[in-house]
């Protein structure tokens, strides 16, 4: 089973990649996906207080279990100009 992790903007530039596939088990959480990206791209800080995560375009807590073929987006907070 795999999920797709999408990076945008500055994070995509730092990682030099926009989409990352990650193998999961039945116990894999959103938090684990963050850790997976951090380990592969150490230049990305991904501080949990500074980002938000969506799963299949729905805002998602970090302790949400992942399912096969989920798409996880890692986004900054945007408050508008």
């Amino acid at each position: 089973m795999v999920v797709l992790i999408e990076l945008f903007g500055m994070q995509r530039e730092i990682a030099k990649i926009g989409k990352v596939k990650m193998p999961i088990t039945e116990k894999t959480l959103v938090r684990d996906a963050l850790e997976y990206v951090r380990n592969r791209y150490p230049a990305l800080t991904l501080d949990e207080a500074s980002i938000l995560t969506t799963v299949n375009h729905e805002l998602s807590p970090l302790d949400r279990p992942l399912k096969a073929n989920d798409t996880i987006c890692i986004l900054p907070h945007i408050g508008g100009g």
Binding site: F8, G9, M10, G79, G81
Partner: protein
């Protein structure tokens, strides 16, 4: 330069952020005077937007229009502007009765003008009257003189531009040298020939060693300036900028500034990274969530959008490793710029220029015309600044006419050329025509609201239908409210942002409420009640920033990690606590966040009363175009049918949906219109208005605004 009038004066010392003086210049009589403010004036009206509102409430009338002699052009910083120890303190507002909306508009802008005006001894400048000849105002705090001079004539190209003219002017009056003790506001020929002229705020950037420009872009304040015969205003003061506000509690100010700078330093690089990308980084996120305007807001996403993502500007264009704050001490430093751009179009073709920008709004104005060429974005940006045209209103107005052509309301003969989506040559031609007041530019330069009437008058007789019927159709996709064109966000999937635009007192500009992400993406305000509460709270705090001389971005676009532990993280209240300390430290007040919100509510109410007087203050004035609520035509529904079908399922109790797309579209429209009206009811109640959007008498009394004019106005509206 030929001096037409001059006075000598003793500049007031800044104490606690204020000078308690307004500089008044009447261009009819050439009278220059200094108004001393009573001690309670600042307590009631704060500064910035508040001062502009009070002056315009008192001194203009229902009949006042943008080009009336009694219209005021007000520029004001605010008590918290001008502190290099705190980020984002170079803002000032430019306020007036707008050529687009016929009611109060203000636009906030960065640079050094506001801080230098204060150091030269003034909390605000108010210009009335209309000059018989083109003039420049010089405010020289060093020489202790204020002058009205004849506008200098350099050469025909320079004199028509804003950037070119302002650069020469700033050197000319300072013995041939640029200096950061001088700043200017200027407007070019486009401001004279359109209703959406901007005011450029010019300042000397020592790091780039050139004059840079920020823009008061919305609502046509540059048009007001040029109609007054005012070519530019220069302010000079060599007083030190450090502790320029002469804060009452300097240590509290220092601590508050240090805390905010620390949050920015730690968090911005891991969040939006505005320091590197400016606001262009937003394009990618907006496109991802169907918020990026394409082809007159028909779509919110395009496969071509990546050509305009922030990474393109970062990699190919932005000058890197330059701290680009628009005022000293701002470590967010988002005012990006591009050097050595060779213009490939227009009358300046072949010239190498420096571009200040682009910002997100300009990028999205270009995508809204169906164009995805970053080089064109830069040239569009530069020409709009030089001519002094609002990139937003220009892009939205052009998009409207393009769609009129696409849907058969106009033909190419009406315009004179093929103004279709994506046609760079046609947009380029129109840009210069608007600036010069030539050809179809004379029509397009009037904006969307007046453009709708022009189209209806053309189309109706040709097709034997009534003008009103055509207007009703054009109102669905003519993207303006109260006469102002929308800023660059597609709101079809966010009811809260629909309200954010509809209730915005100046018209649909996002500086009063930008709720689209916390509503549509974060889903932090799912209920109508929560959306309505946000539509009261956010405009209040955002108004405060415009009244005090502050930039909002260090608060709203850098999320303090401590906010995660608060009940409403989107309000970023841990950072707001620094702002409250900064206010109290500067002015010596002992205010809480709630006190600040109350101060802002008074200003909002005053602005609402001006709107009411000017015919833009009722429920009908808050109605938004159908396209802001959802799809108008089938192509829009079909492009996002999965989302719309899902939304209909969710909002129809999961009953079976109608068979045809057309029926679904009609059902969606019915439900969206109803939801918007329900939102109006709740928001008006929260704001102390009647169901018709009229402030209740008790609300006006509670905020100590019940003067004779207010009483008569409320009588007129049966309240």
């Amino acid at each position: 330069m030929k001096i037409l009038q001059q006075i000598k004066y003793q500049p007031a010392k800044v104490v606690g952020g204020y000078t308690d003086r307004i500089l008044r210049v009447n261009l009819n009589t050439r009278k220059i005077s200094i108004q001393e403010l009573p001690p309670d004036f600042k307590d009631k009206y704060t500064g910035g937007r508040g001062y502009a509102l009070k002056l315009i409430w008192d001194e203009t009338k229902q009949e006042t229009r943008y080009d009336s002699p009694d219209n005021l052009l007000v520029m004001s910083n605010g008590p918290l502007g001008n502190e290099p120890g705190f980020p984002g303190t170079g803002k000032f507002i430019v306020g007036a009765i707008s050529p687009l909306t016929d009611t109060f508009i203000d636009s906030n802008v960065g640079g050094h003008f506001g801080p230098l005006l204060k150091l030269a001894g003034f909390d605000a400048l108010a210009v009335s009257g209309i000059s018989r000849e083109e003039v420049v105002i010089l405010i020289d705090g060093d020489e202790e003189s204020i002058s009205i001079t004849a506008a200098p004539a350099y050469d025909s190209k320079t004199d028509k531009g804003a950037l070119s003219f302002g650069q020469k002017l700033l050197k000319d009056i300072n013995a041939g040298e640029y200096s950061d003790s001088l700043a200017a506001v200027v407007a070019g020929e486009g401001a004279l020939h359109s209703r959406f002229g901007i005011v450029n705020s010019l300042f000397f950037d020592r790091r780039r060693n050139r004059i840079r420009a920020k823009q008061a872009g919305r609502g046509g304040t540059g048009t007001v300036m040029r109609k007054k015969g005012l070519r530019g205003i220069v302010v000079k003061s060599s007083l030190p900028k450090a502790n320029g506000n002469n804060a009452i509690d300097k240590e509290l100010v220092r601590q508050a500034g240090a805390k905010l700078k620390d949050v920015i330093t730690r968090c911005d690089p891991a969040q939006l990274n505005l320091e590197a990308w400016g606001t262009t980084g937003l394009s990618e996120y907006m496109n991802k969530f169907h918020i990026f305007p394409i082809n007159n807001y028909q779509y919110g996403q395009s496969p071509e959008a990546p050509k305009l993502f922030g990474s393109v500007f970062l990699d190919k264009y932005f000058s890197k490793k330059l701290p680009d704050g628009c005022y000293y001490g701002c470590n967010l430093a988002c005012a990006k710029g591009v050097e050595n751009v060779v213009l490939t179009r227009g009358p300046m073709k072949g010239t190498t220029v420096s571009v200040d920008g682009p910002e997100y709004e300009t990028v999205a104005a270009v995508s809204n015309m169906g164009i995805f060429d970053p080089q064109f974005v830069l040239e569009y940006n530069w020409y709009c600044d030089e001519y002094s045209l609002d990139t937003i209103s220009m892009g939205v107005t052009t998009g409207f006419f393009m769609e009129c052509l696409e849907r058969g309301f106009l033909n190419a003969d009406d315009i004179g050329y093929d103004l279709t989506f994506g046609n760079i040559n046609a947009v380029d031609r129109l840009l210069h025509e608007i600036a010069k007041g030539e050809g179809f530019g004379r029509v397009a330069g009037q904006g969307v609201a007046r453009g709708k009437k022009w189209v209806a008058d053309k189309y109706a007789p040709r097709n034997n239908v009534s003008v009103d019927k055509v207007l009703a159709e054009l109102n669905k996709f003519g993207m303006e409210v109260k006469g102002l064109e929308f800023s660059m966000y597609v709101t079809k999937e966010s009811l809260a942002q629909q309200g954010g635009y509809g209730f915005a007192l100046k018209g649909p500009q996002h500086d009063e409420a930008w709720l689209i992400f916390i509503d549509q993406v974060h889903k932090e305000i799912p209920s109508l009640e929560q959306k309505a509460s946000a539509l009261k709270w956010f405009p209040l705090i955002r108004t405060w920033f415009n009244a005090t001389g502050l930039c909002k971005l260090p608060w709203i676009d850098v999320r303090n990690p401590e906010a995660a532990g608060t009940p409403e993280p989107a309000k970023n209240t841990p950072t707001l606590a620094y702002y409250v300390d900064y206010l109290n430290g500067t002015t010596g007040s002992h205010k809480s966040l709630q006190d600040i919100l109350d101060d802002s509510e008074r200003l909002q109410l005053l602005q609402k009363m001006i709107n009411l007087r000017q015919g833009k203050g009722t429920r009908a004035s808050d109605l938004i175009p159908l396209r802001a609520m959802g799809p108008v035509y089938l192509n829009e529904y079909q492009s996002r049918s999965e989302y719309y079908d899902g939304w209909l399922q969710e909002n129809s109790g999961n009953s079976n949906l109608p068979e045809s797309t057309e029926q679904r579209l009609n059902l969606l429209i019915e439900k969206r219109e109803k939801a918007y009206q329900q939102l109006c009811d709740i928001v008006y109640e929260k704001k102390g208005y009647t169901s018709e959007g009229i402030p209740k008498r008790e609300t006006v009394i509670n905020f100590d605004l019940m003067d004779e004019q207010a009483s008569q106005l409320l009588d007129k509206f049966g309240e």
